[in-house]
Structures are given as structure tokens and as C-alpha cells.
Amino acid sequence: MESGLSNLLSVSIDFGTSHLLFPTIIHWIMAGLFLVILVTKVVPFLAAVKRGERTLPIVGEPMDAYRFFGTLVLIVAYFYLMDVVGNLFPYTGYGFLFVSMPFVLIMSLMYMHEWTKKAVIIAVINAIVAPGLAWFILAKLFTITLP
């Protein structure tokens, strides 16, 4: 009996495939938990949605689509252009500096609710000073690598 149990618990690991052992276990645990959550949480939740008691996350909630998707597009453009411009001037951090300025300005203007003259001027000054200061302190004084 005892030898049967220890046989059951004994494991031999082939070094060549040892990188897959733990991920496989994690996959099984994940799949098991997902099923349990599906049955105990998701199905009752969807039923409540159907009855109109709850709303689906993201799609069913009110959302400021302009600012949300605007943010996503802006961040993607920011990261992409920073790399492109940075490659034109390698090891200077200019990619960061020159792309951050318009990014900060556009994001400020996008998030601003009331466009007053004063608020816009502050946003413009901020868009020039903040990236400039960050670039100067980090890239010049501290010689940190920037795009």
C-alpha cells in the first residue's frame, strides 16, 4: 500500500523538457479555476445582465469614448514617433524631447474641459517646460539613456 502511494507521488523529470513542467501545471490550474469562476460567477452575472439588473463591464457602461480612444491613439503615436525621431538623432535624447512636447500639449488640450485663454497658455508653457526640464535633468545632468 505504502509503496503504491510513493510510486504515485514519485516524479522523474527529463531535463530537456523541464522548462514545460511548471507551465503545464499552471495551465491546468488556470483552466480549472476558470471553469469554476465561469460556473459560480460569470454565468450568474450574465443571467443578471439578461434580467437587466447588472450591466456588462466596458461595453455596457457609460464612457468618454473621445478621451479614452484619443488617449490610446495618442500614446501609440507617441511611442512610435519617439523611436522614429530618436533614430534620426541617436544618443541625444532628441526623440524624447521633440516628440514629448507636442504629445504633452495635445493630451493637455484633449483633457481640458473649458478652453479659456489662460488655461491654454498654461498648457503650452507646460508642454515646453516639462519635457525640456525632464530632458535636461535626466539626459544631460544624469546622462540617462533616452530615445
Binding site: 516524479v11 507551465p23 468618454d64 478621451r67 484619443g70 500614446i75 493637455s108 507646460n126
Partner: protein, 502 residues
């Protein structure tokens, strides 16, 4: 006392500067201590280890404390841990006692912070000394215990465990590192990803993405509205504060500080748990709790001393076991790695000077926080008025610097920010939990090494139960945390049913 020669003016200036920036971050609703540490990381790249630590610990202490400002003045918790401060702080501010309330909070905070620093100083070396003898088996069980504690304290244990497992899964992407004794082969990815992900996702870009970018996305979705609604910040004339307010409150103060420290030690449990627990304990145990929730200083004392006591508590498992106690210390672990320091049982014995320097920075940051907040609170409170449309672009910009510079200029790390920013947004939207996921991500690859190596050397699963008495104790603790969670959920279900009937 050799470490005293390592302290210089810059060290204290950085700790003080960190505390100030931390307070500002904490005071702005929606920004947390974690974000402060993540955003300011690039500044530490150029600093040496000790100066970097001074800045980071200052940020940590300041960030946790700053949350009291909007909690009292605007009824918005600046950080999640100051939620209970709003219960009594805002009613006091409405009565024109805003400054008095803040000063009570500041004193409670500094005492909570110092008590927890003392506990850290005494307890962490002991725990490290004890855990130094752990083999891979016990180390694996410690991680299992950490994850089960996190899960059992999540709002739903199932969701907590699931989030943690997703974190582990994410950490396994990449190679099974040869330096850890693996075979160097990659898994969980397609061939074309290999140039970018051979070593998996870098820790810090993941953390900065989850705490920085996803916060911005969540705010953008809500339209980046100003929460101030033209309401004047109420300070009241004259502070009306006196130390007499603390008379008879010593038990509360000390109890709440210990509760905060203890909750801080539990991995992955956010600050809100500490202050809520301390607040409810005060409510249950105080002789007169009738005024609580209507503007009683005792509520502020409980809440703020507990949430500042988190700082020392959360550092205990980080420094002695290498397991982060909360999300801010999770970012700190990344910052340590960057400075070439491996936190774990050997950290304190092998880096005694660094350890004393950390304690100095922690205590000093608490003192600076106290003076800044106590005497300059009126001016600091104005930062809650800084418009978000100015702040958010700067935060994204600093996130980029932090991610890009971490491995000396890898653009993929910047894209990691976006990937995990979106992932963090989705996770919070569908109701999964961020803290267990992060802890799973940090501990996942170590858990793998400990697990596989234990099996390779012993060849049987039974070793996890029979290796040593410590292993048995750890299993009992794991079972206890699961039992606790089941008991709590049964209790909640019973209460819900009673409420439905009644």
C-alpha cells in the same frame, strides 16, 4: 556605527525631497504612493544605492501620508488607504475644523510610521535569520503561503487565486533561465516574439504600465473630470488643535499602529484593509464610539496611524524573505534589483550598512513628513487643485523615461508599458484583482525554480510534506488561511441572507 560615515547632506535632502514629492502625489486623488515611486524611478538610475534608497523610502512614506489631505478636505481618499479618514475627517472639515483634523492625522501618521519602523528593525533580522536555513522546498511553500494569504483576503478567494495564477503565468513567458539552473529553452510564446521576449517581460515596465498607464486609461474613460466641482477647500479659522486631543487615545494609537504593521506584513493586502480593520476595531472596542463617523478625532487616529504603519510592516517580508508586502514594495523590489541588490534572507546579514541606512531613511522620512505636513499643510493642500490635464501628460512622459532607461534603451520596454497598461485596465474592469496578479508575477519564476529543483533532487512530491517540521508548519498556515477565507465567505453569505429576509 560604520554606516554613519556613509550619510551625507545629499542623503537627507533626497529623503526629504522624496517625502515632499510623495505627499504631493498622495494628495492628488487618483495618484498613489505606488505611482509616485514608479514615476520617480528614473531619478534613482543615476543615484548610488544609498541615495536612491533615501529618495524611494521618502516617496513611499510621503505617498501614504499625503492621502489624508483630500480625504479630509474633499471627502475623496487620495490613496485607497485613507478611505476611513474621510469618515471623520470630512465632517470635521465641514464644521470648519479642517486644519485641526489634518494635524490630528499628521501626528497619528508619524507615530504609526515610527512604531512600524521599530517593529521592522527588530523583527526583520530575526525573520531573515530564521529563513536563512530554508531549502528550495520551504522557499516554494513560503511563496505558496504568500499567494494563499493574498487570495484569502481578496474580496473573493477564487478571483484572488485566479488573478495570482495569471500573474504566475505571465512571469513564465520567456526562457527557463540557465542561470537559475534551467535548460534555457523558451515557452509560452511564438518564434517571432523571441528577440523581444527571450528573457520575458521586464519587471519595472510591467509595474509602471499597470500602475501608471492603466490609471490614466481608467481616468480617460471617465472623461478626466475635475472632482473639485468649484468647492472651496475648507480650512477653518485658527487650527483649534491641541495635543489634548490625544488624551486617552494612546491605546487606540498603539493598537491601530500594530494592526497596520501586521496587515502590512501580509503580502498583497492593500492599505485599505489596514485602516478599515483599525477603524472597526476602534469602533468595537472604544468606550464611546457614538461620535465616530460624525467627526471624531479618534476615527482619524485609528485610520491614519494604521495606514502609515503599513510602510514598516510591508518592508518586513520584502527584506527578510524577498516577498513584497504591497504594491509599492513590489515596485521597490524592482528598484533594488536595478541597484544590484537581491532582497531575501541574506540581504540584512550581508548588507548591514545598507540595512541601517534604510532604517535611517525611513525614520528621517517620517520626521520630514511630520514637519512638512504639520507646518506647511495649508500650502500643500493647494496641490489638490492642480488640474489633471496638466499632470497626466507629464506622468505618461515620466513612465516612458522609467521604462526606456531601465535596460539602457530598449524600445520594447516602452511598448510593454502600453501592453500592461491596457491589460491592467481590462483586469480592473472585469473585476480581477491587481495586487495578487503583481505578486504572482514577481514570485512566479522563483516558484518555478524552487518547485522543479526540489522535484529534480528528491524525485517525489511527498518531499513537500516531509522535508522538515517547518514545511509542516507552513502547510498548516496555508490550510489556516484557506479555512479563514471559507469561514469569512460563509459569514458574509449568512449576513446577506439575513439582510434579504430582514
Amino acid at each position: 556605527m560604520e554606516f554613519l560615515s556613509l550619510l551625507d547632506v545629499t542623503f537627507f535632502l533626497l529623503a526629504g525631497f522624496g517625502a515632499l514629492i510623495g505627499i504631493i502625489f498622495g494628495a492628488i486623488p487618483g495618484m498613489t504612493a505606488t505611482m509616485a515611486v514608479a514615476v520617480c524611478l528614473p531619478l534613482t538610475y543615476a543615484l548610488g544605492l544609498h541615495h536612491g534608497l533615501a529618495l524611494l523610502l521618502g516617496l513611499y512614506v510621503g505617498g501614504i501620508s499625503g492621502g489624508m489631505v483630500p480625504a479630509v478636505l474633499l471627502n475623496i481618499p487620495g490613496t485607497p488607504s485613507s478611505i476611513t479618514t474621510t469618515f471623520d475627517g470630512y465632517p470635521m472639515a465641514r464644521k470648519g475644523e479642517g486644519e485641526k483634523a489634518l494635524r490630528v492625522c499628521v501626528i497619528a501618521s508619524v507615530i504609526g510610521g515610527l512604531i512600524s519602523a521599530a517593529v521592522l528593525f527588530l523583527f526583520a533580522p530575526m525573520l531573515a535569520d530564521f529563513s536563512i536555513k530554508f531549502s528550495y522546498v520551504e522557499k516554494f511553500l513560503i511563496i505558496l503561503l504568500a499567494l494563499s494569504v493574498i487570495a484569502s483576503l481578496s474580496s473573493s478567494m477564487l478571483v484572488g487565486i485566479f488573478s495570482g495564477v495569471i500573474g504566475i503565468w505571465l512571469s513564465l513567458i520567456g526562457d527557463y533561465s540557465i542561470s537559475d539552473g534551467g535548460n534555457g529553452k523558451t515557452r509560452l510564446m511564438a518564434d517571432f516574439m523571441e528577440p523581444y521576449l527571450f528573457e520575458g517581460f521586464s519587471l519595472l515596465p510591467v509595474l509602471i504600465g499597470i500602475f501608471g498607464i492603466s490609471t490614466i486609461l481608467l481616468e480617460a474613460e471617465k472623461g478626466v473630470k475635475s472632482e473639485l466641482s468649484h468647492e472651496r477647500v475648507k480650512f477653518g479659522k485658527g487650527s483649534g488643535f491641541s495635543l489634548g486631543l490625544f488624551k486617552g487615545r494612546l491605546t487606540n494609537l498603539v493598537r491601530s499602529s500594530f494592526i497596520g504593521t501586521f496587515v502590512g506584513m501580509l503580502p498583497g493586502v492593500g492599505g485599505s484593509a489596514a485602516s478599515v480593520l483599525a477603524y472597526t476595531q476602534e469602533k468595537n472596542l472604544a468606550r464611546d464610539s457614538s461620535q465616530m463617523g460624525k467627526g471624531a478625532p479618534q476615527g482619524l487616529i485609528a485610520s491614519e496611524s494604521a495606514n502609515n504603519a503599513l510602510t514598516g510592516g510591508a518592508l518586513i517580508p520584502l527584506l527578510s524573505l524577498g516577498i513584497p508586502g504591497d504594491s509599492t514594495t513590489a515596485v521597490l523590489i524592482g528598484a533594488f534589483t536595478l541597484q544590484g541588490i537581491q532582497v531575501g534572507p541574506l540581504f540584512i546579514p550581508e548588507n548591514a550598512n545598507t540595512w541601517y541606512i534604510m532604517m535611517t531613511a525611513l525614520v528621517f522620512a517620517n520626521v520630514v513628513m511630520f514637519f512638512l505636513m504639520f507646518f506647511a499643510i495649508k500650502h500643500i493642500a493647494k496641490v489638490v487643485m492642480v488640474p489633471k490635464h496638466i499632470l497626466y501628460p507629464i506622468i505618461v512622459m515620466m513612465c516612458v523615461v522609467g521604462a526606456y532607461a531601465i535596460n539602457y534603451g530598449i524600445m520594447f520596454d516602452v511598448w510593454t508599458l502600453l501592453i500592461f497598461g491596457i491589460l491592467g485596465y481590462l483586469i480592473q474592469k472585469v473585476g480581477l484583482e491587481v495586487a495578487p496578479l503583481i505578486i504572482g508575477f514577481i514570485l512566479g519564476s522563483q516558484a518555478e525554480v524552487y518547485f522543479v529543483k526540489s522535484l529534480e533532487s528528491f524525485g517525489t512530491l511527498s518531499i513537500f510534506f516531509t522535508k522538515s517540521p517547518i514545511a509542516v508548519v507552513l502547510w498548516l498556515l496555508i490550510l489556516a488561511s484557506v479555512a479563514f477565507s471559507i469561514a469569512m465567505s460563509l459569514k458574509n453569505r449568512k449576513r446577506d441572507r439575513e439582510e434579504q429576509i430582514g
